[in-house]
């Protein structure tokens, strides 16, 4: 008890002493100074209205950002300078150059930042296109070395594998149109370059040896090339018909993307498997489910809409391309016109309840449009004269633009009872069949239609 009392005393004494500190304060003069300063401040900075508050919040946000940025600026600027400078320098490098790794790495980084599967696949296709253009430059400059060939070969192999995987993913996600179109773009691009390389190989042993090593990546099989070099060259020189033989080489990317669509095109229980060197038909009941899937995926109305959108987009793209060679522009416009005509034919056919015929028209239209994109992109990138000629040739070959022919795969799609082996189909080749069900479309078997024919056909359907 006594202890408690002592403790209390101690506390109160201490408290008293500490309370003395309350007398420590500002002087009157200081108080006045602070008071008048604060009054002035309050006057100059009144309570905010609603609008002022919004503006202030925005300013604060910006200011917070700029403060951070300001702190980072010197180091960041230096970093950007070196990285950007390095990448820019590397941009023009070719396989075998020291900075080439920087270029491919920056491409990979860009790829990583494409979060959309379709966008990524498109970029992968574009990367293959870059590799082909590098090959073209190497050959043009005559700077092919063992190192560059090895590097290019490796990059092409990896890129192609990447693209395949991407297209598989796209399909798995149900993006069949996108997969189809990207595959198509890729093949058109490969086709164009392939023709250029073959043409170049006629004149140079260096190019021939280069293609023996790298060529198989884009459909120029090394053995085939070795055996058929002479024939291919002659064929190319010989004209359109023979050049198609070159196109009959199975391309590296004749993969499942087109396979799914060919199931749709070539019958209910027939399936075309395309291997590296040949096409063959497998009749298999087991694929019915897949066929059904393909049909449901290719919903008629969606297809129609998709083709129409693609046509108008392509039209805009061509109109926008300012530095386009006039010959190319005219050729591309012509091809687009044909695609558009095919689309209109499809619309007319669909109005007449001829869904199968219409679908075929739409797919053909889509094919033609699909070829325009990569050609347009390549053609706007300062192409050489030889390149332009080859693109024109590709257009003529695929679209049959030279004589106005439009090749309708309708004849093939409708053919057969499904169990008979179909002929192997190659790009640009007109496939025919004895058992065509052409009564519906009014097209006689084995006939390839010219534009006039299509118009007549439309007239008939309308009647």
């Amino acid at each position: 008890m006594k202890h408690n009392k002592t403790d209390k005393n101690k506390k109160s004494i201490l408290k008293e002493k500490l309370e003395l500190l309350r007398h420590v304060s500002m002087t009157e003069e200081e108080k006045d100074r602070m008071g008048s300063f604060l009054s002035r401040y309050v006057e100059l900075h009144p309570v905010l209205g609603e609008q002022e508050r919004v503006i202030r919040e925005r300013k604060e946000k910006y200011s917070a950002f700029s403060n951070v940025f300001r702190r980072l600026t010197p180091g960041f600027a230096l970093f950007v300078f070196f990285v950007w400078g390095g990448v820019a320098l590397a941009g023009t490098s070719l396989p075998g150059d020291n900075l080439y790794s920087v270029k491919t790495t920056s491409e990979k980084i860009r790829e990583v930042f494409s979060f959309d599967t379709e966008q990524r696949a498109r970029y992968k296709a574009e990367r293959i296109n870059y590799r082909l253009s590098e090959a073209h430059k190497l050959l043009e400059q005559g700077s092919v070395s063992e190192k560059s060939v090895q590097r290019l070969s490796y990059e092409l192999e990896v890129s192609l594998e990447d693209l395949r995987t991407s297209l598989d993913t796209l399909e798995a996600e149900g993006e069949y149109f996108a997969a189809f179109e990207i595959g198509r773009m890729h093949r058109s691009s490969v086709d164009a370059y392939k023709d250029v390389f073959l043409r170049m190989s006629e004149e140079s042993e260096e190019v021939r040896s280069f293609l023996r090593t790298v060529g198989f990546h884009f459909g120029l099989d090394s053995d085939y090339f070795a055996l058929n070099n002479q024939r291919s060259s002659t064929a190319l020189a010989g004209g359109e018909d023979s050049s198609r033989e070159v196109s009959t080489l199975s391309l590296a990317l004749e993969d499942e993307t087109t396979e799914l669509l060919t199931v749709e095109e070539f019958g209910d229980d027939a399936r075309i498997l395309e291997t590296d060197a040949e096409s063959m038909l497998v009749s298999d009941e087991g694929v019915e489910g897949e066929t059904f899937e393909a049909e449901s995926v290719l919903d008629f109305e969606t297809l129609k809409l998709y083709v129409s959108v693609r046509i108008s987009e392509t039209e805009r793209q061509i109109a926008r391309a300012r530095k386009l060679d006039p010959r190319l522009r005219s050729a591309l416009e012509k091809q687009l016109e044909e695609a558009s005509l095919l689309y209109q034919s499809g619309v007319v056919a669909s109005e007449s309840q001829e869904e199968d015929v219409a679908r075929s028209f739409f797919l053909d239209s889509l094919n033609l449009v699909g070829e325009i994109y990569p050609l347009l992109r390549m053609a706007t990138n300062k192409p050489s004269e030889l390149f332009i000629v080859n693109i024109l040739k590709t257009l003529e070959k695929d679209g049959g633009a030279e004589d106005g022919e439009v090749l309708l795969e309708e004849e093939v799609r409708e053919s057969g009872d499904g169990n008979d082996a179909l002929p192997s189909l190659e790009i640009g080749e007109v496939a025919t069949d004895e058992d065509s069900a052409e009564e519906e479309s009014g097209v006689s078997e084995g006939e390839s239609l010219n534009l006039e024919g299509v118009r007549n056909l439309l007239d008939e359907i309308e009647l």
């Binding site: 420590v24 002087t27 108080k31 300063f37």
Partner: protein, 173 residues
């Protein structure tokens, strides 16, 4: 949203009630009278800027002021790493009395101020807030961003040390 008049009233009340306390707090933390004045003034400027947006509420203005002051002091520490106790002694401070000069009071107050400066800063700030400003441990915890437990422990130790420094034990024995 509060009306402009209400906001101004809250501010004026806070200034009237706590300006000296905030000055003291700064003074005992920073050992520099002029600096303490500037920091106390800046504390009220910040309070006004916070209140004038009109959409922000302050539950405990007093604790909020200590929090602002403390952050300003920390910034000040960063700018200038050392403070001299001599600056305090030489610059002196005013002991406010009711009109007349009380020499004994001033001498006693100086003794306590010196004793406070012998305390570790951790103990000094809690002792000041508890025994001089009369804040409850809960409010001290809020002002200094500590837990109540930590505040209680520090207070306990501060009392023990002050007793020894001010020889309170001797006097009671």
């Amino acid at each position: 949203m509060k009306r402009a008049e209400d906001i101004e009233e809250i501010f004026n009340e806070a200034y009237g009630a706590y300006s000296d306390a905030i000055f003291r707090f700064c003074f005992f933390k920073i050992s520099d009278k002029e600096k303490a004045f500037d920091l106390a003034q800046e504390t009220f400027v910040r309070l006004w800027n916070y209140l004038r947006t009109g959409d922000k509420e302050v539950d405990n203005v007093r604790a909020f002021l200590y929090k602002i002051a403390r952050n300003l002091i920390i910034d000040e520490y960063r700018k200038k790493s050392t403070f001299s106790l001599d600056a305090l002694r030489e610059g002196g401070f005013d002991v406010r009395t009711d009109g007349h000069k009380d020499i004994q009071l001033e001498v006693d107050a100086r003794e306590v101020v010196d004793a406070m400066y012998l305390l570790d800063e951790l103990y000094r700030e809690v002792a000041l807030l508890r025994f001089v400003e009369g804040l409850q441990p809960k409010d001290i915890a809020e002002s200094l961003s500590l837990t109540e437990n930590v505040v209680s422990v520090r207070l306990n130790r501060a009392v023990k040390k002050l007793r020894i420094i001010l020889k309170v034990e001797d006097e009671t024995q």
